[in-house]
Amino acid sequence: MLWYDLPLKEQNAIASDLARRSFALHLEACLPYRRYVDEVRATVGFDSIMEMPLITTSAFKSVELLSVGRESIEKWCLSSGTSGNPSKVARDRTTLSYLLSSTKVGAGLIGSWPEDDAVIVNLGSGGIESTIWFQYVVSLIELLYPSYAVEDNGSIEWCLVESLVSDHIGSGKHVVMIGPPYRVVDWLTYIAGTNRRMQCGSRCTIVTAGGWKKFSGSQIDRGSLTSLAMTQLCLHSEAQVRDVFTQAELNTVMFECVGLEKHVPPWVFVAARDPLTLTPCRDGELGVMSYIDASAESYPCLLLTEDLGYVRRGRCSCGRDGVRLHIERRLNSRPLAGCAVRMERHGV
């Protein structure tokens, strides 16, 4: 039985148990984290998981957080943020293995096809040697299905992508197109510009991964993207457009089910928190997202992120019981030095 088919009670129990173990592991093994816990005057042996001190994602930009020896680190993964100073996250073999196996299993929420019956069109440059987190994760998917990475030197020849998709759909395969939302929009806009529509029917799934902001900072509307995809690709269902969530500091990818909700696996303890007190928000209440990801063993993955969102627990519209998260948006970033705050806030 896969994790997303477990009863909620069991998932919760696993999450709590693993969160405690993860905390204990990193408290013991990661000196900066132990000192940090001391600074917040916490004591070992927490009654409440919510009291476990969390690390901000920005801490990974400045502090080397390791729970294993440096010689065990097999990959330093970098975030792809636009701040100019990326996070550096150290992953050892075990942590990477958990990432790979959890991605393989979690992808089943999107769909499962015989290996010969599906292809991946990666709207990125691919490469498992990449240190950029998003590119690395997507490249691992090639272990599951034949993949084509279509970006070359930062640009994509959309007419070639069109041929690729068309050929594979014509030969009866299912095409899964993965990329950041802005790239998917570019693709769909290209199709719209050709005045042709691709007859993909049920044979295509779009998976968006990455932020929903354009480079200019304006937000891409998910509803519009889905609508455009339905029209230009003649998809049968809006459930053929899914989103996934991941970030460099997290060791798990959250996949959307057919109900368009991102299910959180039981080795990740997730909570939306009050921004000041860090107490947990109610189901559906907006708060700052936090994670305790027990699949990360080489670094303490007890995170307080810069995302606002909410958590829901219980029966999902896909029929499964589980914990689901929704990311509403990124926090409005800490402004630059100077008096430039409020005028930017409202686009003035």
Binding site: E74, K75, R93, S97, Y98, L100, K104, I128, E129, L143
Partner: protein, 310 residues
């Protein structure tokens, strides 16, 4: 065994060569050989895939063994998924045995010097391996992983029904094993006529086995009862044979990285121990090496598959 072109260099200077064995009836059996730069000081190992697995599924184990100095052979059996002839619909235990024998014998037919040859087989392939090794004394060792010892019981667990209770005329056209349809009458008929089914048949074969056997049994295996495994491996001839329990492991531990890693190391160390080479030189393959090699192999496999389909 006919080699197909130049070897492909994988990470860590391991050379992957493709070969095709031409067999009776125009059938072709595909095999890969992975060689370390030192040319196989530790010996030779043949990896037999479990049901529903191809050569690519054994990529990591092959890498481990090759990194430990073994030349590693893998193959896709007849009547199975993969590159070799025949459809999985026609799968039988005996056709799986035939494939295994062809590969092993083709290796033995080469000039191997003093190299020792071992066999590693998992799950259903292990059941086949027990029979083969029992009559093939040239093999130095056999390592099984979650080996099926009571086929009938395992099939009941997998299928949910004991099709061997019914009259052969009442069998369905196909039964689905791990998502693959198998034509039921020939499969079931072969199981019965060739005495594959019972625990007793397995015990008989193991009891006569002079080859060193190391069996890894998973403690949480829902398809192979632990008691059956203990029973099957109770009387082992070779003084170094053993049955090792993997605590917490399930039948397919590939989704548990920690257990998988333990198993990979245990199998590698077991193989080295069996050929009396001693401890490994160097460490485990890195994760990036494993992934890179797996990707190279997957791309190769897909290319060959596409060529064969045209």
């Amino acid at each position: 065994m006919v080699s197909n072109g130049e070897p492909i260099l994988l990470a860590s200077d391991l050379a992957l060569e493709e070969a095709v064995i031409a067999c009776s009836g125009g059938r072709r059996l595909h095999s890969w050989r992975l060689s370390p730069p030192c040319g196989g000081k530790s010996g030779i190992v043949v990896l037999a895939p479990g049901f529903g697995q191809t050569m690519t599924h054994l990529s990591t184990l092959a890498l481990y063994l090759a990194s430990a100095g073994f030349v590693v052979y893998r193959y896709d059996p007849f009547n199975h998924i993969g590159l070799s002839s025949g459809s999985v619909r026609s799968f039988t235990m005996s056709s799986s045995l035939e494939s295994m024998q062809i590969v092993v014998r083709s290796i033995l037919a080469q000039d191997l010097g003093s190299s020792q040859i071992g066999l590693v087989a998992s799950s259903l392939a292990a059941r086949v391996a027990y029979r083969m090794v029992a009559v093939e004394p040239s093999l130095s060792f056999l390592i099984t992983i979650a080996g099926v010892v009571n086929l009938r019981d395992t099939l009941v667990q997998v299928l949910g029904t004991d099709w061997f209770e019914v009259n052969s005329k009442e069998l369905p056209e196909t039964i689905e094993v791990e998502g693959y349809p198998i034509t039921a009458p020939p499969f079931c008929g072969d199981c019965v006529s060739e005495d594959w089914l019972s625990l007793e048949s397995t015990k008989r074969e193991i009891r006569t086995m002079k080859t060193r056997l190391t069996a890894f049994t998973a403690s949480e295996d829902l398809w192979v009862r632990y008691e059956d495994s203990v029973e099957a491996h109770r009387s082992l001839l070779h003084p170094s044979s053993k049955n090792i329990l993997l605590a917490g492991a399930t039948h397919n531990s590939s989704n548990n990285p920690r257990t998988t890693r333990v198993l990979l190391n245990a199998v590698t160390d077991g193989a080295l121990d069996a050929v009396a080479v001693g401890k490994r030189n160097g460490g485990e393959p890195t994760f990036s090496t494993i992934v890179a090699s797996a990707l190279t192999e997957r791309r190769l496999f897909r290319r060959r598959f596409a060529e064969a389909s045209q």
